[in-house]
């Protein structure tokens, strides 16, 4: 993540101290990239959790998938997949909800 030199110069012209530069310029400037990374990371996180549960877990979504496969319970497999989708979408939505007040200044196409 990098911040435009031109914006940092505005902070320098107004003689911001190090911490003030971080709080008033650097953090707000990286905020959009930060939120995007967070959302991408969350998706990956869920995937790895389930992948890890394939390997010898006795609870969890991954376990339900493996269990359903080995014992021939297709309903359980579908239910686990649906639960996985809902969980992923819900947590992603949570990040969007929490971050949106900080990103209202963005010039985005999707506005409500």
């Amino acid at each position: 993540m990098s911040v435009d030199r031109k914006i940092v110069e505005v902070g320098r012209v107004f003689r911001l101290s190090g911490p003030a530069m971080v709080r008033r310029i650097l953090l707000p400037a990286v905020m959009p990239t930060y939120v995007i990374s967070l959302r991408a990371g969350l998706g990956l996180g869920w995937m790895f959790v389930v992948a890890a549960e394939f390997l010898g877990a006795s609870t969890g979504l991954g376990f339900l998938l493996i269990d359903g496969q080995q014992l021939g319970k297709p309903a359980q497999i579908v239910a686990a997949i649906v639960a996985f989708a809902i969980l992923g979408k819900a947590t992603d939505w949570l990040i969007v909800l929490v971050s949106s007040p900080f990103l209202r200044w963005e010039d985005r196409f999707a506005r409500t």
Partner: protein, 263 residues
């Protein structure tokens, strides 16, 4: 009094952007610098602002050597450089963090009123037009009441009509508390509308080529003969500075170009 004492700037790659530039600007004076590209105009402004330090010589404001951005020196860049995550009013008040909230609010309201953007106070910068954004940038630089205001081609990205409008507006704002203005431009008309003194610079290495006093009464009529006279002098000096002078039949040196814009 703003003094530049034999200021020079050599970049690490060996380019000499500025050499032996000495200059004194009186309080309240409007100095406009003009010159071909690469003549060190912006380098000079950045040295005065303290954003860059010169490699030779020094910049002195009222006895203080400027080595870093100084509270008495404001700057307006070519782009508005508003912070997109702050509303217009918060952008204008950006440099007033040390003041109590109430005073900050009244000063911001006053500044917005002065640039005619009171109704835009709660708007995001992206919703402004180019001219409006530049007016906000000027308000942001002026609201801490700097002693020196530097302007780096502030109107060059605007259309001709908005530009003329903002030039008049800038003079109007200047009259409020008469800060020293040091401006860089490519536009000869703009220089003559604003300046008390026009400084023509010459490239490779950047240095002062000629200074032309400009004492026409304000407001200045861009169509008047006196205006035209000064303009011819500036254009001629510019051409000579770039070794492009045209000598007419009767041996008189005359400007090769007569256009209003100088690129």
């Amino acid at each position: 009094m703003l003094v530049l004492d034999r200021v020079g700037k050599t970049y690490p790659n060996g380019v000499r952007a500025l050499e032996g530039l000495s200059l004194a600007v009186a309080p309240g004076e409007i100095l406009v610098t003009i010159g071909g590209s690469g003549c060190g105009k912006s380098t000079m402004l950045r040295a005065i602002s303290g954003l860059d330090t010169p490699t030779q010589g020094k910049v002195v404001l009222d006895g203080t050597v400027i080595t870093a951005p100084h509270e008495k020196i404001g700057i307006v860049f070519q782009e508005p450089r508003l912070l997109p995550w702050l509303r217009v009013a918060d952008n204008v008040g950006f440099g007033l963090e040390q003041y109590p909230k109430a005073e900050r609010r009244t000063r911001v309201a006053g500044a917005l009123d002065r640039v005619g953007l009171t109704e835009k106070a709660r708007v995001w910068p992206r919703e402004l037009s180019g001219g409006q954004a530049q007016r906000v940038a000027i308000a942001r630089a002026l609201v801490p009441r700097p002693q020196v205001l530097l302007l780096d081609e502030p109107f060059s990205a605007l259309d001709a009509f908005t530009r003329a409008d903002l030039q008049d507006h800038l003079l109007d704002l200047w009259a409020d508390f008469k800060p020293t203005l040091v401006m860089v431009t490519h536009d000869v008309d703009e220089a003559i509308v604003l300046a008390d003194r026009v400084m023509v610079m010459r490239p490779r290495p950047g240095r002062v080529y000629e200074e032309i006093a400009c004492d026409l009464p304000r407001p200045r009529d861009r169509q008047s003969a006196a205006f035209d006279f000064v303009k011819r002098r500036v254009l001629a000096a510019l051409d000579r500075s770039l070794d492009r002078a045209v000598v007419t039949d009767d041996g008189e040196t005359r400007a090769a170009a007569g256009g209003g814009l100088w690129w």
